[in-house]
Structure formats: structure tokens, C-alpha cells
Point group: C2
Chain length 420, copies 2
């Protein structure tokens, strides 16, 4: 092996065509008519996908191990194998009508990093691993981000094992059935640094015509159910002045949700996604309206403030209108700030490579949220078409995927240290 | 027969207990567990109800005839039977979960007028008739107000005959089956004046603690479907500034519907009763929202103005937001002003009787809308509990029903002219 100069290392690039072919090959397993993928966690198709990716890793001389929750770790040795590995990864399970890139890109860009290192005979000080986390999507089994959640201690192995799909089949039985219940103890596996490449699943990069998103944080979220109770009455005989129209009152709250988010730029988000009107009849004034509220921001403090403004608004509206209004918080995921070192490595790598970058917070959850609890972690985003994900029409450009993998390569090399 | 003085006539009163007993007896046919009635048009139960009411009329010495659409006319002769009859009536079919009073009260208060006249040996110049109109509710067969609609030429007999229920049974076959397809030509039957007593089906009288509603008009209504099309995207990754949130835009239209109605007092009504959000998922910004709009007012001119304001608002909102907004008018029922003479007779009768009155427009349709096309018509409203109708819990007070029947009695006597 020749000693590599800095300029030789800086010139290293992944093979974008090879990465694209792997994405298409894996996407063929569970391919749908509309160009997407249906490969639910722990199904026969998931097993086929795991088998294929593991075989690719073995072809690259990697060691493949599996832990108790079915997470796969594909390891390339370093010079000092007592060091914790520099890890990348994501998931290969999909939504029922999912795409070819969500998750799969994170795993296969990791594999492409390995292939590139092997091709160029690069040795690193620390070992490098590519993780395939079990059941990130949560479509078949809840909780979501199950494999990384168990690995990082967010919940117990037993809790995850007991989760059932709609047919009553458990995670434990299904893991055993497809041959992916390993003996490695989940989490007994230190990580030096963790990077995850992912399509953005939002429109920010595409709108800004920017290739690389540096991800400083993942937004926390608070979910609420709001119920407005008025009085159901006929649209004709009931004069405006004496109506108790639950929908009209609800519309003011729906607008306030957006107004609150706009008062917390740049990361505040406020969404009403789901509405049920009772009795939902054309000529009946709604007696009750139930709707969801989704508030997000980058810190607990801002989320608390947004929550307080929502409470205050509803208290005033309740007093002003006399209608019944209840607000119940049904879910809370805390914000997650990524490690400054990992964020810097991503930014530096992109800058060295000459890619335009911008900071983009992640609005959706990823396995990196959980790895951030046990190791310095960071993410790399690339654009996806129209910001659409969790959809069969999810799409991304080969050159963007290649760019993201190059950033992943150089961020990982910076963490793992090239020795020859 | 003795000649009656004005004071003797003015002292005439119906028998409230007798009226209440008839309401309860008729309400027993199709009675529901919750105290309501299910007696759909042209069912066996409808036949039982028709038979009972007809038998009561024959007991009172009335002549009973049936026309081609099954309308029943129960006639008490006058001194001059060449005069067109002074008519009252309503319907005895009900909603699937209907009440004992809607419609039934109009027929049985008419019968109570006849019983009172017979009891006191009152002769009128013009004959008096009580009509039972076929299928007013429209629950089983569309169009609604079918019998009076055919009678008054709103649509053809053939159109009504061909209407089918959900099992494919036609009006014509079902009329024949229950023995109520008459040979009298529908509409070949002049009317001198028409009065209809009805529960208000709204909360105005009850809220004002007033016994008698004088009904100057029935509101016209325009129904619309509005569709707002934005772009469906994830609630987390999509910043506020670049959202195309169909629900947020829809809420502004929903509020404008109410604002428009408030700009057209006292009879303007604006209601959004039905909303469908797509995809209606907690963490997805709505891509499309479809909702109904119901505008009502007392004249074509005001309804046209309300329509124009809605159009203008939507045009501006479309330009301001760039979202797709379509507004389609799906139904229009023109307003109906009742005849000033009939309105005056109702008011005068109530004043003479010492009942508190107020003007209350009808927000719902009634057979009197169609009779108004062929004869001077008017209506009398009495309060119903909480304004609730089309519901098994529909309720009304015996003393209010009695008061309404007394007003009906004296309004009809003023039109029919007492001669002895």
C-alpha cells in the first residue's frame, strides 16, 4: 500500500453510477407499479433486502453481525480495531407506498463509501461500519425507529419484541422467522461518530437549488388533539347571532396555529393536518369539530413558548365564545441538536468538494436522533423531487445522491483518519 | 243553526287536549324507542297513518279524495261550494329518525279546526279542506315536497312517479301498493287560501319566549361546493414560508361565509356544514380541502349580492395565495314571500287571541312554498324545544301547539267567512 498524500485523499470520489445501480437493484425488491417500494419491516421482502445488502458487504470483505433487535452491522476493519467504529447507516424497510431512496440511500451510500475505500486501497485508523437499523418506518410495528431506539436505550428490547402487527404477529417471532434475531447484545457496541445521509423529505434544498443540506438539528414536536363543542342546529332556521358554530370557532384556532409558528422563525412549524366535523352535513351547523395540531421547533424552550401561546389563545377564545374547547397533548418528541464536530465535518467536506450547502433542520425523525444519545452524530441531506417522500413517486437525482455520498465519504474519513 | 255574533266567534277555541291525543295516537304508528317516529313515505306505516287520519276525517263528516300523486284532501262543505276551499295541511311522512310533530302537527291542527267547527255548529261560506301532502321529507324518495310540488306544477307527475328508493321501488308502484294512487288530477283543484301550522324547527321563538311566529317568508338558499387545492407535504420538513396549505386558505373562506351572512341582516345565513380534508393525516399539510357552503336570504337580490361577494372574495384569495380554488353552485331554491293577506290574517288572529307574536322567517322548506305558487299562502310557527327537529328528541309544549291551532282556526275563519 502506498502512503496517501492529502491531495490524493481530497481527490477521492465515490462512483455515482455504482451507487445508483445498487439503489435500483435494492429497489427491485418489493417494487410497486408506480415506481415505489413496499418492503415492510420483517417481511419476506425485508429479508431479501437484508440478504442482498449483507452479501454486497461480504463481497467487500466486511464482517457482518446482527444484534438482538435485528440491526445489521457491516464492518470494515481499521488499523486500530480497539477504537470505536466511525459508523454510518439508515434503514431499508419502507412505508407501504414508499420510495426507493428513503433509508435505502443512507445504507447504500455507506456501502459505496466502503467500495470506494477498497477500490483505492485506503486504510483508516478507526474501523468503519455501515448499520442497517430495524423497522425505522414503524408502518408495521410501533414504535418507529425501533432498532436504533433499542440500541440507544430509548426503550427496552422486551418492549420492542412484544410489538404486534395488525395480524397479531410479534417483532420477536418475525425476526426469528426471517433469520435476523442476532446474539449480539443491542447497544453493547460503542460508536466513535455517526453520520447518516438521507434525502431531505422536504422542499428546502430543491427550492434553493442547493445540493447539500448540513443538518444542525432535528425538530422536536408536540402533537395535540383539539375539540370544539358548540350546538348542532339547522342551517336555515337558526339566525347567525344565536349560533354556536363549532367549525367557525375551530377556524380561528387553526389560523392561530400557523400564526404562532410564524412568530418563531426560522424553525417554528404549525400544522393542522386532520379535521373531523360532526355531523358533517351540508345544511347542519357543526356541533363538534375535532382536529389535530402539530407544533415543531428546534428547542424545548421555543416549543414550550409556542405551547403557552396556544393555551392562552384557546383560553381567551373559550371565554369570548362560550363554546367548549379542549386541548390535549397526545405526543412529544424532544428536539435533537447534532454534535458540533459532526456538523462541522459535514460542512467542511462539502466545502472541500465545492458543493453549495445550506443549513436545513430535519423536520422528520431519523435513526440519527437516537444515535445522538450515545455518540457524536450528524446528518447529510440531499434534495428530493418536490420535497415528496413516503410516496411511490419519491424521486432524487443521481448527481445529488452521488454528491451526498462524496460528502459522507470525506466526513467519515475525517473522523476515521486515513493512515495509508 | 243559530246566527253567531262576532264576539261568539272570537271566543271560539280549539280543544288542546283533543289535539294532543291525536298527535300521540298518530305518533304511535312507527314510534321509536327514543320517543320519535319512523314513518317513511309510502311504507305500510305511512298507509296506516293515512288510514287513521282519513278515518278521523270521515268521522267528522268530511269528504275524502285522493289525487294521482297520493295527496289526500279532506273536505268540509261550505255554504257556497263553488268557492275554492280555504285549505290547511302538511304531511305525515317523517324522517328515518324523525319526531311526532314535524308535519303531523300541521295536519292534525287542521283536523282540530274541523272538530271545533263541528262541535260549535259553525258554517262557513267557503268550504274548508285539510290536505295531507305526499312525501314532504324526501328521505325515501327525491325530490322533497313531492306531493305539493306536483300539485303546484313545480315538476311533473311522471318525474315524481319514476323516483326510486334505494331498493329500486318506484313512487308509482309504492303508491299503488298502499292504495293511495287516486284518480283526481293533481293540481286540478283551485285553492282560495292556504295556511300551514308547523313547529319552528329553529330556536328563535323559544329564545324570545314567544308563542306564535308570524312567517313572512321562506328563505331561498344557494348551495356550493368549494375546493381548495394546495400541495400535500410533510408537516416537519416544510418551512412555513413555502407551504401551500389548502386548509389554511380554506379557513379564510369559511370565515368569509359567516362574515357575508352578517353583512345581510336580519335574514342572511351562511353555513359551512361539511368538510373533507385530504389526506387528513396528523403530520401532513393538507393538499386539498373540499367543503360545502350554504347561503340563505329572503330575496333573490340579497342572495345574488351574497353570491357576488363570495365570488369576489375567492377571486382575491386565489390571486393572493396562488392556490387553486373552485366554487361550484350545486343547488338553488328561490326565496318565497308569503301573501300579505295571509300573513296579516295570521297576525290578526294571534293579536285577537292575545298571544305574543314575532316575525320568524322559515329557514327550512315546507309544502306552503309550493302552494304559494298557486294560491295566497301563509304559515304559523310554534316553538319547539331547543329548536331541534328531524330528530327523535323533537319536542313541543301542548299549550304552544294549542295556541298555534287557535291561530289557524281564526285565520281560516277570517278567510272562509263565518255565515252561521
Amino acid at each position: 500500500m502506498d502512503m496517501k498524500t492529502v491531495s490524493t485523499i481530497d481527490a477521492l470520489r465515490v462512483d455515482g453510477d455504482r451507487l445508483w445501480r445498487s439503489l435500483m437493484d435494492l429497489g427491485a425488491i418489493g417494487a410497486t407499479q408506480k415506481g415505489g417500494v413496499c418492503r415492510l419491516a420483517l417481511t419476506d421482502l425485508d429479508k431479501q433486502g437484508r440478504d442482498l445488502v449483507s452479501a454486497w458487504a461480504i463481497q467487500q470483505g466486511m464482517t457482518v453481525t446482527v444484534d438482538q433487535i435485528g440491526n445489521i452491522f457491516m464492518r470494515r476493519a481499521g488499523r486500530n480495531n480497539d477504537l470505536p467504529p466511525v459508523m454510518t447507516g439508515s434503514h431499508i424497510d419502507t412505508q407501504p407506498t414508499g420510495g426507493k431512496f428513503d433509508g435505502n440511500y443512507g445504507v447504500l451510500s455507506g456501502l459505496e463509501v466502503i467500495r470506494t475505500l477498497n477500490q483505492h486501497n485506503i486504510q483508516t485508523e478507526a474501523p468503519i461500519e455501515v448499520a442497517v437499523w430495524t423497522n425505522e418506518e414503524g408502518s408495521r410495528f410501533v414504535p418507529v425507529m425501533m432498532g436504533s431506539g433499542v440500541f440507544c436505550g430509548a426503550f427496552t428490547l422486551e418492549h420492542a419484541y412484544a410489538a404486534k402487527d395488525t395480524e397479531g404477529k410479534t417483532v420477536k417471532d418475525e425476526l426469528a422467522r426471517i433469520g435476523y434475531i442476532g446474539d449480539q447484545i443491542s447497544g453493547d457496541h460503542p460508536i466513535g461518530a455517526y453520520y447518516e445521509a438521507h434525502i431531505e423529505q422536504g422542499p428546502v434544498l430543491e427550492n434553493a437549488d442547493t445540493v447539500i443540506g448540513v443538518v444542525p438539528a432535528v425538530l422536536g414536536l408536540a402533537w395535540y388533539d383539539c375539540v370544539v363543542t358548540g350546538f348542532e342546529s339547522h342551517a336555515g332556521p337558526t339566525p347567525m347571532a344565536i349560533r354556536r358554530d363549532a367549525l367557525q370557532v375551530a377556524t380561528y384556532i387553526m389560523q392561530e396555529v400557523v400564526a404562532i409558528a410564524l412568530r418563531y422563525p426560522p424553525y417554528g412549524r404549525g400544522t393542522v393536518g386532520s379535521v373531523q366535523v360532526m355531523p358533517n352535513s351540508r345544511n347542519v351547523i357543526p356541533g363538534q369539530v375535532t382536529f389535530s395540531i402539530d407544533l415543531r421547533n428546534v428547542s424545548d424552550a421555543t416549543l414550550d413558548s409556542m405551547n403557552a401561546e396556544l393555551d392562552a389563545y384557546i383560553d381567551k377564545l373559550r371565554a369570548d365564545t362560550g363554546l367548549g374547547i379542549t386541548l390535549q397533548r397526545v405526543s412529544y418528541f424532544p428536539p435533537c441538536a447534532f454534535h458540533p464536530d459532526c456538523v462541522s465535518q459535514v460542512r467542511n467536506a462539502a466545502n472541500m468538494l465545492g458543493y453549495a450547502t445550506m443549513d436545513v433542520v430535519s423536520g422528520a425523525g431519523h435513526d440519527a436522533i437516537y444515535t445522538a444519545r450515545v455518540a457524536p452524530s450528524g446528518m447529510i441531506f440531499v434534495p428530493c423531487k418536490d420535497g415528496v417522500s413516503h410516496n411511490e413517486i419519491e424521486d432524487a437525482k443521481p448527481e445529488h445522491l452521488e454528491a451526498g455520498a462524496n460528502v459522507l465519504l470525506h466526513a467519515m474519513l475525517a473522523s476515521a483518519v486515513v493512515v495509508s
